[in-house]
């Protein structure tokens, strides 16, 4: 919301500068996001001192001056003004600056003399019509000071971030109320020109009433309160200068005197109002009703809008003339030809206004306020000010007392506030007297018990957000100022929840993968999917080409890899720990936290002393999968089981399938290396309701996460014996089978079994491959004898031959 500094000062005689006021409003009421000078076009003009002045050698009316603009260097400036005087201060535009008239200054020669900028007249700065000479400044500031800082030239605009709970701050009155409370200065409505209108009693009527012959019918579910007034004989035309300026100061453009008066009241007291051209309302009838399906209206912005029953309209006997609380209609717009007005000052239902304006796709100053809630008690005062202002700026006469159609004036509810509770929540004791005084200053009615007992508080009509004790406690804290409260760390008890086990797992996996040289990515989980029900779909996706949530992290990583390839980056080693989603048939999908890895390209960075052209292959991916799986499932036995269906291996942890390793097909340029991917489940994220609303499940909380530690075995003291087995392995026999046989045959003496070579080609029969293992044997208590070792070796070979037809390679 835009708030004018000068306009606020018309409510409260504060002395704070704009910067001080900004601080005050921010710390006590609502954050001021920005402070805008309304003459930003003067931002580059500085105050400069003419140090020397002399006649121009080739001109009798020009002067040659030397100017100190605070830059530390004196500038030569040619000046045509008769009043230029050495030693005085003037507004100065440097070379490159654009002055308000639109001219950008250049360095140029004027009759042979260089001029670096311009000393400005009031007219050149649009600060008045005086162009008789340059503008002499009687201020005491150093040269170089921005002119806007040196002179109180014009109004400042505060951009206030009013949060949804405080619609009362959406007006100058609302902000002024807070300023008054914070400064202790009195609050009064600004004086308006003209005479206050006089009318007789305007009693509350339900559903229907009349004013000056116009019948007003209201559905109170749509508008709890609706006031109407007829003014006859206005002359529509331009607004007076002061009114134009006021509206400009909040960024609103002048339209005509009647519309401007309505906008003025909106910004002044926060009440949206609307003026209809009475002559255009058929049947001397105004009704607030739900729009009919298929009904249409052309709004003030010239757009034809289709309505339905979720939209509230203001209609005459025949058709809609306004979308209630949102925008008026073009047909009954106030024009130069208008003489009689029907003024509407109403409170529309907040939720319906919100639904309606969303339905027609409009948001206006009026709807913004109505959907947040307009003070129920405001209309009579707002109507009076509106009528007075219109008559003052556009003439005309009130045609009779207004009609006030009200269902029921809400009875203000008292809230009991316990001093003990205030102290408990805020952690510091705010004396009741102090709290009561501060609340009273912003319009609350406070009834204080003797001593420090309870306060009975009634909020003013404009504070519908005050419902519970805690709401008042917040007011007390805010009014007192958050700064007032001490900042001391007090003793605390440790919490009951242990670290989430999924966090513990993620942390360990992340640590492992980073130590392997991988880079963590945090991409978004949206994917183009395949249109099938295998994917969880976002109902209102941001991008129609990616409306699904991924089932696999590798899906996302593959797309990000392609982006990298498009940037000619082919050495990738990305990992992500994130969620994948699977539909379940129920409302909530299955959410699985996984780790995904994608690696491709050089295994090592290039170096003159390293082997070239080594690229990540499936064996690297298998290793990463093993490491990641072990980190994710530390207590389980990890196995990588050869698989098919696109997977090279499936990862088993404790016998459970938790993921896989595969070659990843990419939309990749020819130079790209093959990509390999790993995807492993960490855990399913619990997403069932913990307990029904309003209840807890405290008895069922899980204990600390189970941990796993490798167990110590005594370091061997006896020497080991090593020997190699080069074996001819027939097709169809796997290394795992061979290893199993070797292990079984070598018994408990086998300490380590290491496959170190694979060879096919010369010396190896067709259809076979040569695999070589190194065996390390050790006895825990003695040195193994040669004979024992030889015995073992023979036994292994004979078992291999029998079981697998695997023989030693002799050549």
């Amino acid at each position: 919301m835009n708030v004018s500094y000068e306009w606020l000062r018309a409510f409260v005689p504060f002395e704070e500068t704009p910067a001080q006021l900004r601080e005050l409003i921010t710390t006590h009421a609502a954050t001021v996001d920005d402070l805008v000078h309304l003459r930003a076009d003067l931002a580059d003009i500085v105050v400069a001192r003419v140090v020397e002045e002399g006649p121009h050698p080739d001109s009798d009316h020009l002067h040659v001056t030397r100017v100190d603009d605070g830059s530390g260097e004196l500038l030569d400036v040619v000046c045509g003004a008769a009043n230029v005087t050495a030693g005085k201060l003037y507004p100065f535009a440097r070379v490159g600056v654009t002055i308000p008239t639109g001219i950008t200054l250049e360095k140029r020669k004027i009759r042979g003399q260089t001029s670096n900028g311009m000393l400005c007249s009031a007219r050149e700065l649009k600060l008045g019509d005086d162009h008789a000479g340059i503008m002499e400044l009687s201020v005491d500031v150093p040269p170089g000071t921005p002119l806007l800082r040196a002179l109180p030239l014009s109004d400042m605009q505060f951009v206030v971030d009013v949060l949804p709970n405080r619609p009362d701050l959406l007006s100058h009155l609302g902000v002024a109320r807070e300023v008054s409370a914070a400064t202790g200065k009195p609050l009064a409505l600004p004086a308006l020109p003209g005479e206050a209108p006089v009318w007789g009693e305007a009693p509350h009527v339900r559903h229907e009433g009349t004013t000056a012959g116009v019948t007003v019918r209201v559905d109170h579910a749509l508008a709890p309160r609706y006031m109407g007034l007829v003014i006859k004989g206005v002359k529509v035309g331009p607004s007076p200068e002061w009114l134009v300026k006021r509206l400009e100061s909040v960024g609103s453009r002048s339209i005509n005197n009647v519309v401007d008066a309505s906008n003025y009241v909106l910004h002044e007291v926060g009440q949206p109002t609307h003026a209809f051209d009475l002559a255009r309302l058929a049947g001397a009838t105004v009704q607030v009703r739900a729009a009919r399906k298929g009904e249409k209206i052309v709004t003030l912005d010239g757009v034809e809008r289709a309505l339905d029953e979720t939209v509230t309209v203001i209609a005459d006997a025949e058709r809609a003339h306004a979308i209630a609380g949102v925008m008026g209609g073009r047909d009954s717009e106030v024009t130069d030809a208008t003489t009689d007005l029907f003024l509407e000052v109403a409170v529309f239902d907040a939720r319906r206004t919100r639904t309606g304006r969303k339905r027609v796709g409009l948001s206006t100053d009026a709807s913004y306020r109505f959907e947040r809630g307009v003070d129920f008690a405001l209309p009579p005062m707002a109507l009076e000010r509106l009528a007075r202002l219109i008559m003052a700026v556009a003439g005309g006469q009130v045609a009779g007392p207004p009609v006030d159609v009200v269902e029921q004036v809400p009875v203000p509810r008292a809230v009991t506030v316990r001093s003990s509770r205030v102290a408990k929540v805020l952690g510091a004791r705010v004396p009741s007297v102090d709290a009561a005084a501060r609340l009273t200053a912003i319009g609350f009615t406070v009834d204080a018990e003797e001593g420090e007992g309870e306060l009975t508080v009634v909020a003013p009509s404009w504070r519908a957000d005050i419902v519970r004790e805690i709401d008042v406690i917040e007011e007390i804290a805010r009014l007192k100022g958050y700064d007032w409260f001490p900042t001391e760390i007090r003793p605390f008890r440790p919490g009951t929840p242990p670290d989430d086990p999924i966090w513990v797992q993620s942390d360990r996996v992340r640590e492992t993968l980073v130590s392997l040289g991988l880079l963590e990515a945090r991409p978004m989980p949206f994917t183009k999917g395949d249109g099938a029900s295998r994917f969880v779909r976002v109902a209102n996706p941001l991008a129609e080409d990616e409306p699904y949530l991924r089932r696999e992290l590798l899906d996302t990583l593959a797309r990000r890899a392609e982006d990298n390839l498009a940037h000619l980056q082919g050495n990738l080693r990305l990992f992500e720990i994130g969620s994948a989603f699977e539909p379940t048939g129920a409302a909530m999908p299955r959410e699985i936290v996984r780790v995904g890895v994608l690696m491709m390209g050089d295994r090592h960075p290039e170096h003159f002393a390293s082997a070239r052209g080594q690229r990540y292959d499936e064996w690297d991916a298998k290793a990463v999968a093993e490491r990641a799986a072990r980190a994710a499932h530390p207590a389980a036995d990890i196995a990588l089981v050869p698989a098919d269906g696109g997977w090279l291996w499936r990862v088993h942890a404790g016998g459970r399938d938790v993921g896989g390793v595969r070659h990843v097909a990419l939309d990749a340029p020819v130079w790209a290396a093959p990509a390999f991917g790993v995807e492993i489940d960490l855990a399913e994220m619990p997403n069932a309701d913990v307990a029904p609303a309003g209840q807890n499940a405290h008895g069922t909380a899980p204990g600390p996460v189970g941990r796993h530690w490798p167990q110590y075995r005594p370091v061997p003291t006896m020497p080991s014996a090593e020997f190699d087995l080069a074996l001819l392995v027939p097709a169809g026999v796997t290394s795992a089978q061979v290893e199993a046989s070797i292990r079984a045959a070598s018994g408990e003496l086998l300490e380590r079994l290491q496959l170190f070579d694979q060879y096919t080609g010369q010396g190896v029969p067709e259809g076979m491959r040569s695999l070589a293992w190194r065996l390390t044997l050790r006895h825990p208590e003695r040195t193994l004898r040669d004979k024992e070792i030889e015995g073992r070796r023979s036994k292994i070979l004979s078992v291999l031959d029998q079981e697998l037809h695997v023989r030693a390679r002799t050549s």
Partner: protein, 349 residues
């Protein structure tokens, strides 16, 4: 000269002595390290070294001569080895005969460096500070029910407060969580107070993807609930965090609004660029907005089945990506999600 198939002890002694003399001479006379290495291979080499011959012969020697032959073998081996070490030390500049490369300006052998994502680094740094104050980590699902995301957090239905949470829906009452605050409710339902948790995670808004907005971003939430927890604790704890994390001496709290906290407060810290003097980065205020916070609204405790008269609490939430932007001088938030290795590798440096 070779040993007979079954040498006597004398044969063995004679020949090993002769071999030892030749070996010691070859080692002692080696003019440079290459020659020395050749001598080592010739006498002590694993494959064809001359000592192998005598080692094998030990197996073929008569049983009663074996111990003596073994001693001889070991003595000679030690002699050769120590001569080798000595000569190597003499020839080489350093110990062990190592010769450094001639051109030491050649580059080091690089290794791929792994790295956590900058947003993760910020989350971990925040978590480390709160861990000292007894906080643990809690997680929750990214696809949530409307009740956990809004209802339990005291959001009024069809209210402008929802405008700040433009939501991606999966179904009518199932959505991508718009903040990490649902974890507050899940934790309060699951665990009895005292509660001191941090909840990091991804959240989603139906927001455009541009330099300063992303439809997904990380958030970290904190929640503290116990008897006697007050606004003073909130200020003190978050102020302590600000000093530790930002090195800021000054933090400021100003009124704000979140449906699930009351009183609500926004915390600012002194702008690091201008030290509070006011600059373009802080819009002239001298302050940087860091986090939203407040006292847990009694309605939230009640929704989670926690006695709101007995217990009070405070909560906060902040965006690690915004902090990472400041930290790493990133001006376009998209780089955090693009997974461009050129960016990720910079952070790995």
């Amino acid at each position: 000269m070779t040993l007979p198939d079954h040498p006597s002890l004398d044969d063995y002694r004679g020949q090993i002595s002769e071999m030892a003399a030749q070996g010691l001479a070859a080692i002692g006379d080696a003019p440079d390290l290459d020659a020395l290495e050749a001598a080592r291979v010739a006498y002590l080499g694993d494959r064809r070294g001359r000592m192998l011959e005598f080692q094998r012969a030990l197996g073929a020697i008569a049983r009663d001569a074996k111990p003596e032959a073994g001693r001889l073998f070991n003595t000679v081996k030690r002699q050769l080895e120590s001569a080798l070490d000595e000569r190597r030390a003499r020839l080489g500049r350093g110990a062990g005969g190592y010769t450094p490369p001639a051109d030491l300006t050649m580059p080091a052998r690089p290794q791929w460096t792994g790295a956590r994502h900058p947003v993760t680094l910020v989350i971990e740094e925040i978590a480390a500070i709160f861990r000292e104050l007894g906080f643990t980590i809690a997680l929750g699902p990214e696809v949530e029910t409307e009740w956990y995301n809004f209802g339990a957090l005291n959001f009024p239905a069809n209210h402008p407060a929802m405008d700040l949470h433009d939501t991606l829906y999966v179904q009518d009452d199932v959505l991508l969580r718009t903040h990490t605050s649902p974890v507050q409710v899940r934790t309060l339902q699951r665990f009895a107070p005292p509660i001191r948790i941090l909840a990091p995670g991804n959240v989603y808004r139906r927001d455009f993807f541009d330099a300063s907005h992303a439809p997904m971003f990380a958030q970290i939430e904190g929640l503290c609930v116990d008897e006697g927890v007050s606004f003073v604790d909130l200020k003190a704890t978050l102020g302590h965090f600000a000093r530790r994390f930002f090195g800021s001496t000054r933090a400021r709290f100003r009124p704000s609004y979140f449906p699930f906290t009351e009183p609500s407060a926004e915390m600012d810290v002194e702008c690091r660029l201008c030290r509070g003097a006011g600059c373009a980065a802080c819009k002239g205020t001298g302050w940087m907005e860091i986090l939203g916070s407040g006292m847990v609204h009694p309605a939230v405790l009640e929704a989670a089945g926690v006695d709101s008269e007995k217990y009070t609490g405070w909560a906060f939430g902040m965006g690690p990506a915004r902090i990472a932007m400041q930290r790493y001088g990133v001006t376009d938030i998209r780089v955090f999600y693009d997974s461009d290795v050129r960016f990720l590798e910079q952070i790995a440096e």
